[in-house]
């Protein structure tokens, strides 16, 4: 589909997401939600805004009032803004934080709100928000946002699939460019060019390829070292389309994978164990246990990362064992699941695919999964 104008997210998708957040506000007794994270603002508003790289400090990027359901959005113009956010609820870019206070004070319900939730804070907004919401206690909005967001609606799963398609297409071009002499930085450029040529200009990450180390389980050298025969090169391909992340991980041997077949097999066996652990109701720590059961050391990246609009649950990493044990996998969760094995003198094989947990088990969302489906 060729998109030649800036459009808001699909109306049904917007309505389903906003209803979830409103229900969580109701359950938590929160009157006003103020979010700064772009993913949260998009979830609530359904409006695309300019992509910039890197983290952003908290600022009142979007406000949702529980009593009225009104969304107020930081946007100087109305292009791409859903029609359920009228002009009077848009507020413009400002470099003067006191202007934010004025805007927030003017929101219907600000003066009487008793509980205002945020998704983070800065020292200056911790002083300014009480001026805008004089009757309110500032509370933690993360738990309610995570409850609303962690299970995906069918429309969201479709959106993630669409992003995965974009990443797959661009990844195929980058893989085709893999040859002795090319550098990791150049491969990143090839991926980015192909992604943009397919109509999506925003990446999930900008470190698309790396030559895996033969000496250490996890090490990246300069991005300008040319690829050499015998190298195992890992790709981490991610695109952000309509706000949703679609991500894949693959490994390619520069001159055929005959000599590293055993390592690919070990990674595949680990993957099978990981996928078996993706059952609704299971503790997320089963994914960590799958590494132990396969006799594979902890990988350098999280084993599972939620896919959605920006930051999403689950996050499963050996660095946070208690969190993993307390987290349950649920039907509707979608995450990037990573298998990573390393062998001294050979390098690493890394495979990552997007996985949706359904009532009947896991579903891999990529069209060409790194591990071909087994016959069951």
């Amino acid at each position: 589909m060729t998109v030649t104008e800036v459009l808001p997210d699909d109306a049904a998708l917007r309505a389903a997401r906003r209803a979830r957040v409103l229900a969580e506000l109701e359950a938590a007794g929160v009157d006003v939600l103020v979010v700064g994270r772009e993913g949260n603002a998009r979830y609530v508003s359904g409006a695309p805004r300019l992509w910039t790289a890197g983290s952003r400090a908290f600022g009142p990027g979007c406000v949702l009032v529980r009593a009225t359901g009104a969304v107020h959005l930081l946007s100087t113009w109305d292009e791409g803004i859903p029609d359920d956010i009228p002009h009077e609820r848009l507020y413009g870019i400002t470099f003067n934080t006191m202007n934010f206070v004025t805007v927030l004070q003017g929101i219907d319900g600000a003066a009487t709100a008793r509980s205002v939730a945020t998704d983070g804070l800065t020292p200056s907004f911790s002083r300014l928000l009480p001026m805008a919401f004089p009757s309110a206690e500032l509370v933690d909005g993360e738990p309610l946002l995570r409850r609303a967001r962690r299970s995906k609606t069918p429309g969201e799963v479709d959106a993630i699939r669409a992003s995965v398609r974009v990443a797959e297409g661009a990844l195929a071009t980058a893989e085709a460019a893999l040859a002795p002499g090319v550098t990791e930085r150049q491969l990143t450029g090839v991926f980015m060019e192909a992604m943009a040529a397919s109509g999506v200009t925003t990446p999930a990450g900008q470190d698309v390829a790396w030559i895996t180390s033969r000496e250490r389980p996890w090490h990246r050298a300069s991005r300008d070292v040319p690829v050499a025969p015998g190298d195992l090169v890992a790709f981490e391909a991610g695109a952000i389309s309509a706000g949703y992340a679609g991500e894949l991980g693959r490994t390619r041997a520069v001159d055929g994978d005959g000599h590293v077949r055993a390592l690919f097999d070990r990674c595949g066996e680990l993957w099978d164990r990981l996928l078996d652990a993706c059952r609704p109701g299971a503790p997320a720590s089963d994914l960590l246990d799958a590494y132990d059961a396969a006799g594979v050391p902890a990988p350098p990246m999280p084993v599972a990362r939620g896919l959605g609009l920006g930051f999403d649950l689950p996050l499963v990493t050996h660095e946070l064992p208690r969190t993993a044990a307390e987290q349950r996998l649920e039907a509707g969760m979608v995450f990037a699941l990573a298998a990573y094995v390393w062998e001294e003198g050979v390098g690493a094989v890394y495979g990552q695919d997007p996985v949706a947990v359904t009532a009947s088990g896991p579903e891999v969302l990529s069209t060409k999964p790194f591990r071909k489906a087994r016959s069951r």
Binding site: G189, D224, R305
Partner: protein, 408 residues
Amino acid sequence: MPGLMASAPSTRIPPTADLARMHRERAERVRQVMADQGLDALVLMGNTNVAYATGAVWPLADSGRAGFEQPVAVVLAHDEWPHLFSPVREDDRLRVELPPDHLHGPVYLDFDEGVQRFAAHLAELVPHKARIAIDEWTNALRREHSILFTADAPADGGKMISRAKLTKTPDELSCMRESLRITERAIAEVQEHLAPGVRQTDLTATFLRSIFDAGADANVLDPIWQVMPLRMADGPWTTTGDLACPLLSTERALAEGDVLWVDTGVSYAGFHSDFGRTWVVGRAPTARQRTQFDRWRAIMDAVLDVTRAGATAADLTGAATAAAGGVKPWMPHFYLGHGLGIDSAEMPYVGSDIGEAFDASLVLAAGMVLVLEPIVWDDGAAGYRSEEVLLITEDGWEPMTDYPYDPF
């Protein structure tokens, strides 16, 4: 018309940077600001603040990734080396030369368990009742972390970095020039591809390929190739009643005669570039459009005439407004100019809605880097906008950009 360096060559920007010296001098600046404020420790979470304080460089990702893999820095008043908590520890690409005991694994401050781990580290690093500043925090950090959130709210760590980075060292200027050069090289490739029928996203594709081939670490902004309406009323509604810009790029195919306002930036060695030009697709500008460009040059020249260390931001806005015949020649939701460095837009802001009193009080200093971006808008001719990046010097300024104004 050739770029700014044709008339005013740059002499104070060294061709290569000594990165070790750059990091050392930066660390000294940060600790000096901390000493001025009586701080024992500085905790930083913002990607660019961490990059500034530690010298670490990694390809910046989508902002949503920050919750999964946000590096955190801790700067101590009496330690020349900062501590870095990073998901990419064993990595030559970070290019940090920290002692091994200052490089730690990730702390995941969106999770209570991650915060507890970080708190345990911090308790070992900072003295009892230490005075700590922080730039931002997650709710988990606020909830779990009693060391940071004592009776007084923590001091603003972001302001400390703002102060430290306000002027640039020669090594930093050298890195910035390279970041700008990479951008200009990529933009030249894009401009060669500009033709009717080409989509905005095709221009982005060429740009993204070219910046990595030229050595960029990352793209920092979804590139803008905005097709300007001839009349303001034909553009989107705005809160200001003025122009809407920057608008997002799509697969829209460009048509002959389209006027594009271009705005892009990349990251190299931790420094963001900024680039702005006006292009016309597939034909020469009209006489009216040329006149707009001439007026833009006159405004830019008037501002450059008063730009030097010791001038105030109000001197610059005054010169611009006088040259534009009494109207402010910039977009009201932005500014006449802004600082550039570790962030795409940082202090000093010139002509922003912080207000005229602020502009009058803001004194330019040698070593500041300023992006000037006046506009000329004639309803019916789609306007003209370009950006120039300058180094402020004791006796004036030097250009940091060198890109022609073609087709003007």
